[in-house]
């Protein structure tokens, strides 16, 4: 696998991949039910509603009720997919998820759009950067943050066939598509480019940023291994340890607080197995603000140049 072979085929939002994936999954499985809390089109669930109106539940602006209704539907054998913004899918309903979904082992799929700063102009009230941490801490919760349209569609279809609670996180902006035809398996890291000097583990939108950074570094003679971690929990520990053993330097890139997200998940595995110099690319204990997605990624330390710096930093420490 060569990083230079990874090319964008155009831009499309990950939430569009969710909307399409939900429709495809629902065509295959009559038990799938869709719920939203007054954000049907933001989640691109109108396609599902149009084809399966009797399986679509509009809950209104009542997210707590939505999560608990979903738990009840799952108890009686349905496969509910809840759809609202990531902020309202996690922090607002943490207790409902904890008790009625995670602790009770319910087959509920919590599908969360508009995660991170790439939500843009709506500002920090809506730009959740702690959600991966909250969901990761819940025992038994599967946590997935796909990186582009195709992967989000594949993930949506995969979680329909997986029994157990899932948090699926995606976003709002149109974003480069580059994983068409690549495999998707829950819990299996995706190698995007082999390398020998440093490993960049990336999730969500920052996966494409990592690909671009790795290409630039290759021109400078630095060989990066780029691994997409779409499934943050359960983490593909084998892939993490093997790559760290090989390159002995690790950078983790995510659109999330540095605390609690993929960086911490990987640090946890490496500290017990194979500690190496490691850097985080993510938000440093801060809320976001209004702005354009790329401006915000730049200001909050999640742009290509932040990955370049982080790579150089770990390479220095590796010497």
């Amino acid at each position: 696998m060569n990083i230079q072979d990874i090319q964008s085929t155009g831009n499309k939002a990950t939430r569009d991949g969710f909307g399409q994936g939900l429709l495809e999954a629902a065509r295959l499985n009559p038990d799938i039910v869709g719920l939203t809390a007054d954000l049907m089109e933001s989640l691109q669930m109108q396609h599902f509603k149009k084809e399966f109106p009797e399986r679509f539940i509009q809950v209104g602006i009542a997210e707590a009720n939505m999560i608990s209704i979903a738990a009840g539907l799952a108890t009686a054998g349905k496969i509910p997919f809840t759809g609202t913004f990531a902020n309202f899918s996690t922090g607002r309903v943490y207790d409902q998820i904890r008790q009625s979904v995670a602790y009770s082992h319910k087959n509920v799929k919590i599908c969360a759009s508009h995660a991170g700063v790439t939500l843009g102009e709506d500002g920090a009230t809506h730009q959740i950067l702690e959600d991966l941490g909250m969901m990761r801490m819940l025992p038994g919760m599967t946590v997935i943050n796909p990186c582009d349209y195709h992967q989000t569609m594949a993930a949506t279809m995969a979680i329909a066939n997986y029994k157990g609670p899932v948090y699926l996180r995606f976003g709002r902006p149109a974003w480069p598509m580059f994983t068409e035809g690549l495999p998707f398996k829950i819990g299996k890291a995706l190698l995007l480019g082999k390398g020998s000097d440093v490993t960049i583990f990336a999730t969500g939108h920052l996966t494409w940023t990592a690909v671009e950074a790795a290409k630039e570094l290759l021109d400078q003679g630095i060989s990066c291994e780029v691994i997409n971690i779409h499934t943050i929990k359960p983490l593909d520990e084998k892939a993490v340890i093997e790559s760290a053993r090989k390159t002995r330097a690790v950078v983790v890139a995510e659109e999330h607080q540095r605390a609690g997200g993929l960086g911490d998940a990987i640090a946890n595995v490496l500290v017990h197995n194979f500690p190496v110099p490691m850097e985080y690319v993510g938000v440093k204990d801060s809320f976001g603000e209004s702005g354009k997605p790329t401006e915000l990624l730049d200001k909050y330390g999640m742009s290509k140049k932040d990955i370049l710096w982080a790579v150089k930093d770990v390479l220095d420490r590796k010497k």
């Binding site: 009542a62 209704i69 009840g72 008790q99 602790y103 009770s104 082992h105």
Partner: protein, 283 residues
């Protein structure tokens, strides 16, 4: 009438179970459990169509029950055990390490009869709605029952659920409110008044049934039968059931003080004297 006598006897035995379970571990919630004994015995003994064994989580073709105020687990565990969900002797393990009978009901340890965890309040009506919607989608004509506390209605989520059920005509649902007027820090009226509860449920679009004698077994059975007859008519049904916290044990009756407090040996002896052991036998 023989059946009614048997169920009355079961009420007495369940109350003994509650007292002995809570005494054994010196923890648990006897007050609300004693107050809801007739409700549980009526529901499992005379109202619901249900199959204790083998227990099926999805409960297709059965009536389902969800307990929202999970802290009254002692009464539920006793009734589940004595209606065949699990061995009666397992009541010995209540709240102890490695038990399936957790302090608050949970599915995690696989206790038959429990379909979802509860304890953190305010979620049960929503969960019951979800199960009722699933039954509707499946063309399953059975009914979903749920019990909620009255103080619990101070949780905002309850009203989200109440609004939703009426709007969506979830009419295969019978919610009962344990309207004992008490909560941990005092009476509802002292802590946060519920106001005109029947008027509120009516205004939200529910079919409201008031039950003044929630500790009279025959009244509870008849009222729940009436509630069942009123399902399927486009509106969810609520039974506002007046009960007395601690009913059946004189020193516990009518006060919030025994919400989450266990009796000492002397108090237990006094309580059990008021509740003589039945032919069903102690656990």
């Amino acid at each position: 009438m023989a059946e009614l006598q048997n169920l009355k006897q079961l009420c007495t035995q369940v109350r003994r179970d509650i007292m002995r379970m809570v005494f054994n571990v010196q923890s648990g919630h006897p007050g609300g459990s004693l107050g809801c004994t007739e409700y549980f015995v009526a529901l499992y003994g005379a109202i619901m169509k249900h199959k204790p064994a083998p227990f099926k989580m999805e409960g297709r073709g059965q009536d389902l029950f969800f307990l929202s105020n999970g802290h009254i687990s002692p009464v539920w565990y006793s009734v589940l055990a004595r209606t065949g969900y699990f061995p009666v002797k397992e009541l010995h393990t209540f709240r102890k390490l490695n038990s399936r009978l957790q302090g608050h009901p949970a599915t995690h340890e696989g206790l038959p009869g429990i379909r979802i965890a509860s304890g953190s309040l305010g979620q049960g009506i929503s969960v019951a709605i979800g199960a009722a919607l699933a039954k509707r989608l499946d063309g399953d004509k059975r009914t979903v029952y749920a019990l909620t506390g009255d103080g619990e209605l101070q949780e905002g989520q309850c009203w989200e659920a109440i609004m939703f059920a009426a709007h969506n005509k979830v009419d295969n649902l019978v919610v009962t409110v344990d309207w004992n007027g008490q909560q941990i820090d005092g009476s509802n009226d002292e802590v946060l008044s519920l106001g005109d509860l029947p008027a509120k449920w009516k205004a939200f679009g529910w079919d409201v049934i008031k039950l003044d004698a929630g500790n009279d077994l025959e009244s509870v059975i008849n009222t729940l039968k009436r509630a069942k007859r009123r399902t399927g008519k486009g509106r969810p049904v609520v039974v506002l059931m007046r009960t007395e916290m601690g009913y059946g044990v004189d020193f516990m009756q009518g006060t919030h003080k025994w919400h989450g407090k266990s009796p000492n040996q002397e108090q237990l002896d006094s309580a059990l004297k008021q509740l003589p052991e039945t032919t069903l036998g102690d656990f």
